[in-house]
């Protein structure tokens, strides 16, 4: 079922999948206003390129708001921008609340006067909820709506089946990357068996960089194989570490 809105408000966050799912699930919307902070500025050109090429008839507006460190100014900016955008119009507006901070989400919700909010649940299920009458519509994105290459491309990454490389050419590492269309989960698995200590540390460092790039909760991150103590110390909470077959506990 296509959900038609005049406009949808959302935030650009680390994890690409919520925003991509929103755009695909609400592709009948006339326009999207996507707010971003200076911290996410580098992602915007890739997202813009991707959305505009995939949905040429839809209007995408990216608007910068103040930094994460200035939440009060963010609220004021959202209030001003939203008032300017919807002045004198009775628009069917929805707010996407699964990306951005609580301050941003609540501020968007309040100032937009929207009656519908959209959130993302597991398994690429969008919940479209009208709190006034308690009505909820669930949109399950079918297989093929998003592909691995599309998700990576929307963030400026390319995967050739062996190496993951950023378009700026600096970051590259051999890694297994997969995407489950049924669960909507992105997975990065790095095999460190047979790597020396310094390569292990580099591999862990690369995986930590991916958690920054795709969000702590935005993907599954796994390192397979034994790690030196120094490399283990580098691991952050988002990365699962599993020992290889035949390796000692």
């Amino acid at each position: 079922m296509a959900v038609e809105f005049d406009q949808v408000y959302g935030m650009v966050s680390d994890s690409p999948i919520p925003l991509l799912a929103l755009i695909e699930g609400c592709s009948a919307a006339k326009s999207f206003t996507l707010w971003f902070t200076p911290e996410k500025r580098s992602k915007v050109r890739y997202l813009k390129r991707f959305f505009e090429s995939k949905h040429p008839k839809t209007k995408f507006k990216f608007v910068q708001i103040p930094s994460m460190n200035e939440p009060a100014k963010q609220v004021q900016a959202l209030k001003k921008e939203i008032a300017g955008q919807s002045e004198g119009e009775d628009l069917r507006t929805a707010v996407f609340i699964s990306a951005g901070t609580t301050t941003m989400a609540l501020s968007m919700w309040h100032h937009s006067k929207a009656r519908i909010w959209i959130s993302l649940r597991k398994g690429l299920e969008l919940s479209v909820f009208s709190p006034q009458d308690g009505q909820e519509t669930c949109l399950v994105l079918g297989g093929g709506v998003l592909t691995l290459q599309q998700i990576l491309f929307s963030q400026g990454w390319i995967y050739n089946g062996r190496e993951l490389q950023h378009e700026n050419g600096k970051l590259s590492e051999t890694i297994d990357v997969s995407y489950s269309e049924s669960t909507g989960e992105l997975s990065f698995v790095k095999n460190v068996q047979h790597l020396n200590d310094s390569s292990q540390e580099r591999a862990v460092s690369f995986m930590c960089a991916l958690t920054d790039e795709f969000g702590f909760n935005g993907a599954n991150y796994e390192i397979y194989g034994s790690l030196s103590k120094r490399a283990l110390n580098l691991l952050n909470d988002a990365i699962i570490h599993t020992k290889g077959e035949g390796e000692e506990e």
Binding site: A105, P131, G134, R202, D212, N236
Partner: protein, 429 residues
């Protein structure tokens, strides 16, 4: 009088407690959404939170005479704050009329979905023009109104000891607080290069007097002075809310506490009066000379020793200095310097005043960071040997102590773009 309405975060009660402190309203209503379906871990988090409100996290079996009164904090009752919990299955079950419209809602704690749902329900109940204030306490302690964008200072925030308890369920003690005033006086201290491969401060007698207001004379050959120096100088950084010399983290049960203290090699049993033969009967027999028979299984010996030692401490009244001495050894994790930044990040520092550098020094700092603040900590070794390094080595930042005069190497740490330099993400090293 305004009342506070907030939601309990069963995954980490810290934000709930932080909202209560920052708002400082005398009547607090906490929604326990979905409490009937809490996991055991979430139930434990609620228990931790309830203990936090009581002002003392002393376990029931922990003897009163072994507890340090300074481990406690002011209870909410003593602060004039009363709490009412509302256990509900969903937000729609909450009858907002019960508490009236004269409320401040703080959304720091709780998911975004629940927050939007609560805001909507309150608006539907009382109308959008009601006097309800919708606010979010920020990690910096400031409070932001999500409707008007007004910002105000918080009333108070959580101490480091409270944060460690709420997040990790461990007791914590800090040493002396870093002083910004002292830090300003000492941060540009003159240097001496008299000892090869080790940068020393000059005029050490004068520095010693500034570092501690107690009558402590520091030995500048060793590193203790550097711990105090670092805590004071870090206090001058613009983004630091508080810095402390030393953080000790203790296990949360009486048995583990005794085991942690008594397993330290440096602890003198004689000083605390614990006899070598123990105080309870040896259960594994004696030889013809009356000597104890050895136990083959180490586990059995450890079990007996721990029981014997807990019996001893449970029945022995230590002098105040003996008690302080024991607590000095009972930690399971420690760092030399700790600080909290305005954006909620922690800095953990290990101080090493040495002519060499050893990568293994980072282990305990990293271990403690992963226990207390795994996603938001910056670890550093503050040392006298190597130059300050821009890129991390093994997950740790290496700072030369005279460079502490520049906030994190000229970095405004509350700017996440700059903080990222200190995260393990630099791939070009």
């Amino acid at each position: 009088m305004k009342k506070l309405l907030t939601m309990f975060n069963p995954n980490d009660p810290t934000p709930t407690a932080m909202a209560i402190c920052s708002q400082n309203l005398s009547e607090v209503h906490i929604l326990l959404v979905g409490e009937a379906n809490y996991t055991s871990r979430q139930e434990q988090a609620l228990e931790r939170f309830k203990l936090w409100t009581s002002g003392s996290v002393k376990p029931v079996d922990f003897p009163e005479h072994m507890w340090l009164p300074r481990m406690d904090w002011e209870s909410l009752l003593d602060r004039g704050i009363s709490i009412e919990f509302h256990s509900i299955g969903s937000i729609s079950e909450f009858n907002a009329k019960r508490i009236g419209p004269n409320i401040v809602v703080d959304f720091l704690s709780g998911s975004k979905e629940l927050s939007v749902e609560l805001m909507t329900q309150l608006n539907l109940t009382y109308g959008e023009t009601s006097s309800i204030k919708y606010e979010v306490t920020q990690l910096s302690g400031h409070i932001v109104n999500v409707v008007t964008g007004e910002e105000r200072a918080h009333s108070s925030t959580l101490s480091i000891r409270e944060r460690v308890w709420l997040t990790a369920g461990k007791f914590a003690l800090t040493g002396k607080r870093g002083s910004k005033e002292v830090g300003e006086q000492i941060k540009d201290w003159g240097l001496s290069f008299a000892i090869p491969k080790k940068i020393m401060p000059c005029e050490t007698d004068e520095l010693s007097k500034l570092l501690s207001d107690e009558d402590v004379h520091f030995d500048f050959e060793h590193g203790f002075w550097l711990e105090h120096f670092s805590a004071h100088v870090i206090a001058t950084w613009p983004d630091v809310m508080e810095s402390w010399h030393q953080l000790h983290v203790f296990p949360p049960t009486w048995k583990e506490f005794v085991a942690a203290a008594m397993s330290k090699k440096d602890l003198s049993w004689k000083y605390i009066g614990y006899p070598e033969e123990g105080v309870t009967e040896w259960p594994y027999g004696f030889d013809e000379n009356g000597k104890r028979l050895k136990v083959k299984e180490m586990k059995k010996y450890v079990e007996w020793a721990n029981n014997d030692q807990t019996t001893f401490f449970s029945n022995t009244l230590l002098t105040p200095s003996q008690l302080e001495y024991l607590w000095n050894f009972a930690f399971i994790g420690d760092v030399d310097v700790v600080a909290i930044l305005k954006n909620g990040y922690w800095i953990f520092g290990e101080c090493k005043h040495s002519t060499r550098f050893d990568g293994s020094w980072s282990h305990r700092t990293l271990a403690l960071a992963s226990l207390i603040a795994p996603r938001s900590s910056i670890c550093a070794i503050i040392q006298s040997h190597l130059p300050t390094m821009k890129n991390q080595k093994g997950g740790i930042n290496i700072l030369r102590w005279p460079d502490l005069k520049n906030p994190l190497i000229n970095i405004n740490a509350s700017d996440t773009r700059k903080i990222s330099i200190f995260s393990p993400r630099n791939l070009e090293q």
